[in-house]
């Protein structure tokens, strides 16, 4: 009797490598399916590690995106090998050094979602859920957003996404992608100590972001990746060395533009984008949050979740 193959982790690495090389393997990440082709063994090993809890899909009838990572056809492949990301056969950006191929696949998949999925309002933000309510972190790179997101995901919050928050424009509910968490530089060692049971991709050095690694999403978050969550808080985290934790309420008016600026499709959606943000701000409490120690941050966010009240209607609006 053939072994059960329900999850990526049920495959052995060599089997996965062969399927990937033939372009037969697909990964479902929340509401989206990526069919992937790649014959690099390190990419196969990375997928095997990072997506172990995700459902395995072999030669699916439909995939939202067909992507590939392969060597570009240029002379550099002979003396300084490179890897290039393709979507539907086209490379949207320049190749990277060959040893960055596993990270390139992750970045390429994120880019594909951000550039294509205009059925949702897409924000460059991390998001997590607790008790059916979601917190959104729309902070810029370097703010400690992914570090905080990873820590919360391993301490009772469900990971929705560490990079892309996708809101349904009608219901405002946030989709769960449950994708690997991209961590950089000192955050990697910090999270290795904080969550010693977490699984990681191999580390990649000398990228444009520095030293990077991806953390496997918690299995519980993957198991619930079809459950949306209603946004309740918008928090702008900022890591400040040696700072005491400080949560400060934020003006909704002053929060509007940072959300719009962090949205990938605010301009594309026009009026719909404006209305999504105003409704989102109506139902969310907004804060700035400074922290230096993850344990402090966990305590603050546990308090936020436990002290939550029903959303209040605090505004008026409309066309004139």
């Amino acid at each position: 009797m053939a072994p059960r193959r329900e999850k990526i982790g049920d495959l052995d690495v060599s089997e996965l490598r062969d399927m990937l090389a033939r372009g037969e393997l697909a990964i479902r990440t929340g509401p989206l399916t990526f069919r992937i082709q790649c014959d690099f063994p390190d990419v196969a090993a990375s997928i095997h590690s990072l997506y172990a809890a995700h459902p395995v899909l072999i030669r699916p009838d439909f995939a939202d995106f067909h992507v590939a990572v392969r060597s570009p056809h240029n002379l550099r492949r002979w003396f300084r090998p490179q890897a290039e990301f393709f979507i539907d056969g086209d490379p949207p950006f320049e190749p990277l050094p060959r040893d960055q191929a596993p990270a390139l696949l992750e970045w390429g998949m994120n880019w594909t979602i951000a550039a294509s999925c205009h059925q949702w309002f897409s924000i460059h933000a991390a998001s997590l859920e607790r008790n059916g309510r979601a917190v959104i972190f729309p902070a810029p790179p370097g703010s400690g957003k992914s570090t905080l997101c990873a820590a919360l995901a391993w301490r009772g919050w469900r990971l929705l996404s560490d990079e892309l928050t996708l809101l349904d424009p009608d219901t405002l509910r946030a989709n769960a992608l449950a994708r690997p968490i991209n961590l950089k530089n000192a955050s990697i060692e910090l999270l290795r100590s904080f969550s010693p049971d977490a699984e990681w991709s191999p580390e990649t050095y000398d990228t444009s972001k520095g030293w990077v690694a991806h953390m496997r999403p918690p299995a519980g978050s993957v198991a619930r990746m079809h459950e949306q969550a209603m946004p309740r808080w918008i928090v702008f985290p900022r890591y400040v060395p040696d700072a005491e934790p400080m949560l400060t309420p934020r003006s909704k008016t002053a929060t509007f533009m940072p959300i719009a600026e962090n949205a990938f499709n605010y301009g594309t959606l026009g009026r719909t984008g404006f209305e999504v943000i105003t409704r989102l701000l109506d139902q969310c409490d907004c804060y700035d949050f400074i922290y230096s120690r993850l344990e402090d941050a966990i305590e603050v966010f546990d308090w936020i979740a436990e002290s939550d009240q029903e959303p209040r209607q605090v505004s008026s609006g409309g066309g004139t």
Partner: protein
Amino acid sequence: MTEPSVVASLAEVQPPTRYLIHEWIDGCVVFDLDTGDTHALDATMAKHFRARHEGGADEAAMPDSAHALLAQMDLLG
């Protein structure tokens, strides 16, 4: 095809809207349907905007900052 007279009467009942406005206690945001621009106005600027938009503001008495913003929004003559 719609009769011109019907269009005219509808326009009288429902004048074309240029701005979507959403207010909070600390200010408001304004979306310009003509240009696609968005403006976030603090409480003071929101007061000037509302007054001008409703036709009751004295342009000469307006501070420079409000004048510049409202000019950018095509709300000054």
